[in-house]
Symmetry: C2
Subunit: 186 residues, 2 copies
DNA sequence: ACCTGAACACCGTTCAAGT
DNA sequence: ACCTGAACACCGTTCAAGT
């Protein structure tokens, strides 16, 4: 893959995690990496093509990370690792999960981007569900799929709210309550 | 207050709940209500002024609604009413909490809008905290403020994720798990 | 008091033209 | 294969000018 294409993807990912899909600008990316905005259209014909590729790569890399995490010692440790990903985005210039921020922009997304955002959610929910099942019957989650959706949504929400206040400790406090109440194991 | 000003606010609120602050367009609102975009600047000098007013009104109306809700019979019924607000936005053309969607756009918001979004969060957390305290010691929430943050974040997240899939039942399932796990009373 | 047209620098997109 | 300049219709904003 060409260097320019890689540079576009890197700059675009960073921009979307910070400011969202709508704020993504071909001209700004062009300035950042030293090409004209028209050149970016050579690699990604439309903004939707770029957004979809961004989400696709993000999901693939997330999946690779989670597959490693599945091999960790304790099930509770797995959740620690999972929660750390979302915390890290906040630490990194108050960024957000790429697909979380795009979910908020749902109505403005081209269909091809929407599909990829959904795939990211599915991937996360499936991983959480398999982790929950490995904790049974200890956890007694009688509806692991719905519980997985709930955990994913709660974590995304904690990130969203903490980010809205530029205060990562709000994320920590929400997570602590999720655990204290029994929503998240640990 | 002038009719035009009211029409601007109504059209703008609907647009932001559907598509976010970034997608809010003076020209589109102008077309919708039958004035030129330049006229809107007469009422709201900048987009930030309009966004801030939007969030301010939204918080005030939310507070009025929650104050009524506080007088309801049972504490659990209070939470039912609260949860229904967020569900209703999804039913209404897959819309989102005005301040929830703006929180996702944090980095693009003028400071004056950010302040108002924070006030909305504070108002909600304070209300939830007072509801939790009225349930003590039944609930044994040893950190009601953090628990209130957690509940607010979890609900916003459930709305965000359900909206990303255009599937309001995902919201229901997440909420059901929040209750089953004990995060939300009821 | 309220609205407008015209201008400015932005945006994604297209396309013919360059190397 | 990869990049560009110029054009198009959009955007928020400003401001002098209208009523």
């Amino acid at each position: 893959m060409s260097d320019t294409r890689q540079a576009i993807l890197a700059a675009a990912r960073s921009a979307v995690q910070a400011r969202g899909y709508n704020a993504l600008s071909f001209r700004e990316i062009g300035k950042e990496i030293g090409v004209k905005s028209a050149s970016i259209h050579y690699h990604f014909p439309t903004k939707g093509d770029l957004g979809a590729e961004l989400a696709r790569d993000y999901t693939a890399q997330g999946k690779a990370y989670l597959d490693e995490l599945s091999a960790c010692d304790s099930a509770v440790g797995c959740f620690d690792g999972y929660l750390a990903i979302f915390r890290k985005a906040l630490e990194d210039d108050n960024r957000m999960c790429l697909c979380g921020i795009m979910a908020a922009e749902q109505h403005d997304l081209p269909e091809q981007v929407r599909v990829e955002v959904s795939r990211f959610t599915d991937m996360n929910v499936a991983w959480l569900e398999s982790r929950l099942e490995s904790l049974l019957p200890e956890l007694r989650a009688d509806a692991p799929h719905d519980r997985a959706i709930a955990i994913f949504a709660a974590i995304e929400g904690a990130q969203l709210v903490a980010r809205g206040r530029s205060d990562a400790t709000m994320y920590d406090r929400a997570i602590q309550s999720y655990r204290a109440s029994g929503l998240i194991p640990g």
